[in-house]
Subunit: 418 residues, 2 copies
């Protein structure tokens, strides 16, 4: 079986746990930076190429700062994320604000920051106008409906709550142009965790052609195309990663075929990938509390869905390694469980692993996106610390673990009973 690498071996991890008790999330700075540079290099034919990192994937200031240093922007979808972006040093059009069900104060905050506001609905034109006035640049989220198929994670576009329909989108640009908006963006997001490279080429074609139709139909000249995110990562060791080089080349051909002849060149193309950027470079490090034999064999960890929801929530695959046991034969089958009082709290079912003993360290891979950020406090479970393995090999605490006091902080206790 193909294996996945760890940035630290058993000994180094054990040493780390002397300072930081398990469970914790560990991020690999060097790998994040190298990956960001590869991503940018592949698309260097695009003038002003940018990836707006989806903050929800990993809302940690240290990680966001690294990505800012690598030239990335951010994609925000709530007031908290906008404030986090500002506090981490992102400015103006480095920030995209995409939100589908938006209160006026969020529109105002996005406008104050000079963010690219990406409207989800035609009625939001009026909402934004009333809340903050219309900015110079407006973007719309397009939902192709039955013209495209989605995937399991995000659902079919025509049943999705997002975006403007084909008819509405032309009207939206006409209306905003009439109202004096000068600059225009176009956005879509039709897949999530998709590994088929051709899918993204089709998305580029769809948006490029739509940009031309928008110019013809409304006079609005799109200057910014946001391809959305949704580029998957190979969670399973045998999964094939998306071929960014192929996507870039095909996009460049389409750009020359569609955008240039329409007089829309230069046009900036951006992405809003989160998972692709940090997903593979985060690791949930746990310790085995119990190994037990019931009707099946179970390995019980000191982490749970509070630290990583995806397996329990979607049945998502996350690779698991047992540091120090890489060379042993994988001759045991275990359900690897969390400590939540919910039977769905399993990190893996019938996973083939080396023999596991109480006290072993266990690493769950690919938790760098939608890992910590999706955690809850159900069952009174506390969310763990986040650590950064820096380029110089040192490790820094970039988020402290929650404490019982955090858990109690919003509660109000009645007078103590007699």
């Amino acid at each position: 079986m193909a294996e996945k690498n760890l940035p630290l071996g058993r000994e180094a991890l054990e040493k780390l746990t002397e300072t930081y008790p398990t469970p914790f999330h560990l991020y690999d700075e060097q790998a994040i930076r190298e990956n960001a540079r590869r991503f940018y290099k592949v698309f260097d034919w695009i003038d002003g190429f940018r990836n707006h990192f989806a903050v929800k994937a990993c809302p940690n200031p240290a990680i966001l700062s690294i990505l800012r240093e690598e030239g990335m922007g951010v994609d925000c979808s709530s007031l908290s994320e906008l404030i986090l972006a500002e506090r981490t040093g992102f400015k103006g059009e480095e920030i995209v604000f995409t939100s589908n069900d938006t209160p006026p104060d969020e529109f105002r905050e996005a406008a104050r920051l000079g963010a690219v506001i990406n409207l989800d609905d035609i009625s939001h034109i009026g909402e934004l106008e009333r809340a903050a006035g219309l900015p110079e640049l407006i973007s719309f989220r397009y939902n192709p409906g039955k013209a495209r198929s989605g995937n399991v994670l995000i659902g079919e576009p025509h049943e999705a709550k997002y975006g403007l329909t084909g008819e509405q989108v032309l009207e939206a640009y006409r209306i905003t142009k009439e109202k004096g908006v000068k600059r225009f963006g176009l956005h879509t997001m039709v897949a999530s965790n998709e590994l088929d490279s051709a899918y993204f080429v089709e998305t580029a074609r769809m948006l490029f052609e739509l940009a031309v139709r928008i110019k013809d139909g409304s006079g609005a000249e799109i200057e910014l195309i946001n391809m959305g995110g949704g580029i998957g990562i190979p969670y399973r060791p045998d999964d094939q990663a998306v071929d960014l080089g192929y996507i870039s080349e095909e996009m460049q051909k389409l750009y020359r075929q569609i955008i240039v002849p329409a007089g829309l060149d230069p046009l900036k193309v951006v992405f809003e990938c989160g998972r692709l950027v940090t997903g593979p470079y985060g690791f949930l490090v746990s310790r085995v509390l119990h190994v037990s034999r019931k009707y099946k064999d179970y390995v019980g960890l000191d982490s749970c869905m509070a630290n990583l929801m995806r397996p329990g929530l979607y049945g998502a695959y996350h690779h698991i390694t047992v540091p120090g046991k890489e060379g042993q034969s994988f001759d045991h089958f275990y359900d690897v469980t969390g400590s939540l009082c919910e039977n769905s709290d399993k990190f893996a079912i019938d996973r083939q692993l080396p023999k596991i003993e109480k006290g072993d360290l266990v690493v769950i891979h690919d938790t760098g996106a939608h890992g910590y950020s999706m955690g809850f406090n159900y069952n009174g479970k506390l969310r763990s610390a986040e650590l950064l393995l820096k380029e110089d090999g040192s490790v820094e605490l970039i988020r402290r673990a929650e404490t019982i006091d955090d858990y109690f902080s919003t509660m109000r206790f009645p007078e103590a009973p007699a």
Copy 2:
């Protein structure tokens, strides 16, 4: 269509929102108390009957205090829940501690509190002994495996991570009796949100018969049978509630047939229901931010999965009413969505409702259990306040809403960028 009642009408709710902005959870004290009394009355043939409220369903000190006043105990499954129970005034065997993947400090805390410790695995005997010594009273969680079928929510028992197998359970009592344990409990939990009354009668039969086998096989005399929870509530207006009276009567017959002849009378029978106790008496009150027409019609609320996960997570049905529009014809179909940047964040799909307008209040029913407690902060969303409608008609804030500062509290910001 059958409708569900609200404890407050539109006008009273609107007035409330002047002090407490939506969204918020509202609990009905009088209904909670009346329901608790009905529950206890039905089982009054059992000497020392008690329901140990599953704290995870609604971990709010004010709600727990009400339940304590009504004679309930608590069922805890983590350190935080144990501490919450103590701080709310629960003592000794009013507390049951059931945990499947337990660190030593949790065993120690449960022992310190004098809680009934309910062990999930035969290997936990040694764990508990090393952590805190064996207490006078020990309970074990029994997993019947293929002898019973579970349901969709909890899965099949033989694939569940919980409990001791049929063989292990006898051995466990033998071992602990030998080690000097004097008093014994027996627990199971084989269903979740189950509406079939007969299922619970079968669970009683299973446990009563097992208690006799345990006595015969190990000499341990069970004095406490914990039926678990899992009693469902009628989320849909047409669902039939569980018939507690029937369950109680049938259990009493089985008690006379099985327990009395075996010389196990008096034997205390308890439950650990959460959902049944508070579920129907909590309401998520939201306001409509947007009504939009895309490929379907959408109602966008100011709440989201951060406030209520069940619909987005399981596709669970929660009834929705629009206060003030009770008399109107239900001639519109809407997807009622939350504001999360996730397409799964829908409270209802194709729900038949009266015509909804921006600004309407919308109430989501049956959020009194597994509502607030399952919320997360994904997308930077903040968890809402909890309010108590008291018996005198006044309303008290029993949990403050989260703030942006809460959201930032565990983060570490690098030096401000230049």
